[in-house]
Symmetry: C2
Subunit: 243 residues, 2 copies
């Protein structure tokens, strides 16, 4: 892992890194020494490691909970090259969205295209970050909605270092099957008027989760309208589960 | 209003009162002076003003949030006489529950039997308690699930002093119609495996709520298994909405 520029603002240090071809960011409280839980944030489709929603949550978790927080560009996103096959499906997806048509099957295809690769990448990122003295090998949390859940559900199911996850804004029969393999505590977020995810598919993912401890939080509004209070709830959830 | 015995434990003062024929309890932080928001807790069916779940939440809200908290025996409950008609329906209801049969229509009948009366009673209780210097006429919150929501939904819809409510474990077409008249922020609690309330009826009440700000919190488990963490969430919700 190569570490790049370090900056600090409002009590949080931000450190850019690359691991092989994966560009990422690590946020820690200023002056952090010694081990602490690490929260990995998976960004949404078309977004990247420093999308505003990712940065806002990362800073909240680092400053408010003392956590180490990381995110990385998913394959075909951010600073990474886009494969032709991915670009083609993504363009179809945007056209269908613009036409108000159902995009569920295309979205599932997009996520399947990268899910296998991204699980191995995120496992490597966790392993590399946990070598840093200000991270250490404590418990890991995962936060991701939309594509961050489409990729996060298989990641959380596969990775035993993850002890708690906030997931949501995602639903498909395939994801429900994956959810059944998850056993760690989960907070699952649903937007009640989500124009992209059929409500019954969202609820089916929640229902399928194998976790003994799981909570569904549903709020009115569309896919992009996740209320700010849910970020505070996520912080409290991680503080309870990872500390 | 007549005030009876006052006791104190763990920083919370408990004051029994009667207003006309209504026996009630007021909890305030020890030594409380001056106005503060008042949270009314509606107990469940077959329970009473000092049922363990009521007392635990009342003490949490008073000690943790500095609120005044009150509850009162609903008609036919606690220390109050039971009308013959109510007793007959309640006995039918218990028999159906024991037989594992659907009780939704009987539960709705029980609540309708007392809802009109209880709204006027709770309005009078709020008016009387707000005369006390340690309560004052600040904003009012309401917390009630199961029968506490069956009666609470019409109460919150009717009473403009209520500014925020936690409701749940309740669902019927009649309640959904009532929910549409509510406009204050609501946190709505659902037990995903509730053996008494059909899930679609619960979700329909949440959907019908006229509130711009509303959140659904669903947890696995049966009607009586509301997780402890929801009590903490209720406290944070009231702190955000009433302070």
């Amino acid at each position: 892992m190569r570490l790049h520029s370090t900056t600090s603002a409002d009590g949080v240090t931000e450190q850019l890194f690359t691991l092989g071809e994966i560009p990422g960011v690590l946020w820690t409280p200023d002056g952090a020494t010694g081990p602490r839980p690490l929260i990995l944030i998976g960004h949404g489709g078309g977004q990247h490691k420093k999308a505003p929603g990712v940065v806002a949550r990362a800073r909240l978790f680092a400053a408010g909970g003392g956590f180490a927080v990381a995110s990385a560009d998913a394959p075909n996103h951010g600073e990474r090259p886009q494969e032709e096959r991915f670009s083609r499906i993504a363009a179809q997806n945007r056209a269908r969205m613009a036409a108000g048509e159902d995009t569920a099957s295309l979205v599932a295809a997009l996520h399947e295209l990268v899910a296998g690769q991204v699980i191995a990448e995120w496992q490597a990122v966790v392993t590399a970050l946990q070598q840093l003295s200000q991270v250490g090998d404590g418990p890991v949390g995962y936060w991701g909605v939309s594509m961050g859940a489409g990729l996060g559900l298989p990641f959380v199911a596969a990775e035993p270092r993850v002890r708690a996850a906030v997931l949501g804004l995602a639903g498909s029969p395939g994801l429900a099957a994956t959810a059944a393999r998850i056993t760690v505590p989960v907070q699952f977020l649903v937007q009640w008027d989500d124009e992209r995810i059929p409500r019954d598919q969202s609820l089916a993912v929640f229902e399928a989760l194998g976790s003994a401890e799981k909570t569904l939080h549903a709020s009115p509004g569309s896919h992009m309208d996740l209320p700010r209070s849910e970020a505070d709830d996520s912080l409290r959830f991680f503080a309870r589960q990872l500390r």
